[in-house]
Point group: C2
Chain length 369, copies 2
Amino acid sequence: MPDVSLNLGERSYVVHVANASLSNLGFRVSRRRLTGKAALITDSNVYPLYGEQVKMSLEDSGYSVSTHIMEAGEANKTMRTVEMLAEEMVRAGHDRSSFVVALGGGVVGDVAGFTAATYYRGIPFVQVPTTVMAQVDSSVGGKTGVNLPCGKNLVGSFHQPQLVLADPTTLTSLPPRVMREGMAEMVKHAALSRPAMLRALQNAADEIDLGFTLRTVEKLPELIADNVTIKAGIVEADERETSGVRAYLNLGHTLGHGIEAAVPYGSLLHGEAVSLGMRAALYLSRKLGGLSREDEREVLDTLRALELPLVLPQEVDIDRALALTTADKKFAGGRIRFVLLHRCGAPYLADNVTQQDLLAAMKELTKPC
Amino acid sequence: MPDVSLNLGERSYVVHVANASLSNLGFRVSRRRLTGKAALITDSNVYPLYGEQVKMSLEDSGYSVSTHIMEAGEANKTMRTVEMLAEEMVRAGHDRSSFVVALGGGVVGDVAGFTAATYYRGIPFVQVPTTVMAQVDSSVGGKTGVNLPCGKNLVGSFHQPQLVLADPTTLTSLPPRVMREGMAEMVKHAALSRPAMLRALQNAADEIDLGFTLRTVEKLPELIADNVTIKAGIVEADERETSGVRAYLNLGHTLGHGIEAAVPYGSLLHGEAVSLGMRAALYLSRKLGGLSREDEREVLDTLRALELPLVLPQEVDIDRALALTTADKKFAGGRIRFVLLHRCGAPYLADNVTQQDLLAAMKELTKPC
């Protein structure tokens, strides 16, 4: 399995995807010519599982390592946590010559990445993602940041990592529901630019049902690396989300964020809300973008095979979800930018989606599928 | 008076220095092709003086403006203030198409700049500095950031402004002591690269003593623009402080920060501590760098003419100031990097300054001068 390259000029790096690669982290980091001390940032869930292994790998390659453990959970993705981590790093003797290792899921990657982006006005960092969502999506592309009380990801930096090291064996420790929600992002990538991969994901879904077998685990690196290639291509085309190409990655996320924000925290996982958001986007794509019923069905079948939700939970207040959607940050200059598909593999940015369309799409989500 | 240019590739901009230029801000901003809404960030001291004037200038050029007022003072240069400002900006309807205008002294510039650097992962901003220190130093070069409880400027970003507009008439509202402390940075710039300017500063000092006359105010733009040219050249040579050239700007700041941190907050202004730090650096430069007594005297005479302190206040605990100095962030990889002068106009980074040298320099500061 060759590394996936991101060609971003002087900010280029690779995503290394291999089973059991956690124990090679120190070697890979030293090959990247990172010197100085390492600040290992992880969370209270991940540290007991992989913290010591990662620390030892770094130490075996000669690095001095301090460990900083944040409380797990989206609720801790805050400025306060960044400040606390930076304080700890100062006390541990880190200066501008140090680097950060982010070990964990999307929240750890975003928080540790933003800490690295701003500590002494920016030090290098390495992403070691341990969830599906983090391995195929959030660890790649340099978006870092925290939430504000009034909204998600509103404060942050573009700060590319020096290296992403993804060890798919870490996924076997995930609860099946968390594994499945992460695969919603893989479906999104496939629908955006490689429809053939949808079938591979349907097959993978069957195997997750049966629990992880040796054979499944052996297939994961290829499945993940292939999927990362899609994200890498989009980031290369539009590193700082200025041309519109990177905005395609918001497929399913616009209404998805609104739905996620409208339910009590934790009742819908992010990927589950994205699954609902994708169904809505497919409906609008058929109505406004000429998407065929066959293409719509192929994506819906994949989401269904992964047992991701396609029908809005009854407790969701549609009006509230819509209000939260239009308060979402995906609207530039007051205009609604909505990612739709002409067909699978052919996304576009629609600017003609009306409030009525959004309401109709949301109502569609109350119907069986 | 031509604008001072900073040539930083796609991040290039100008520093426009002119009396009464505040009322031209809107025009200058529109010439820079900034579109979108403006978030005017200022503090509780500056808003009553210039807030409405700046807002009106922007509105007259067609901008929609929201105003955000932070509490004045270094104690509010925190992550918490950045979070509060970002929250306010969200509520005022700002998104990634907005821009920030930072109106005030060094604290406002650093906090508003860091808010702009991280809001939606970075939006443009304009610096409108209203103190000497901010006009000749902190507004130019893209350093933004906040303090941590354990140290100053430890979290931040490099984020270049789109434009710096300095109106020297705003300086006439400064208390003389604040005016003088700002001039310590001007002396620093002159000592680093244009010794002839020291005499001009001595002459200016006499005029401040007499209060601002029309003639003094007329001379300020040239004095400030000339001084900014020095800073601009250093930033152009080493934008992100990687080659060592930009580190020259720490002349007088290493021991200065230690001294500043060792006294009760506010008993020494930043520029006053820098003046003491410069005397110490001159002493070490004579001892280790071959600086002549004549060059040392020329700088000391300028600081003295500006009535800046050259003798350590009795309450300063030398051991504590030294401990705080070595805890300071100017030490990379555990090694002390100290800016010294071979002669005025010829700085260098010394790596052979010992703890004994620092103690001797600190003791020198207890002697009359």
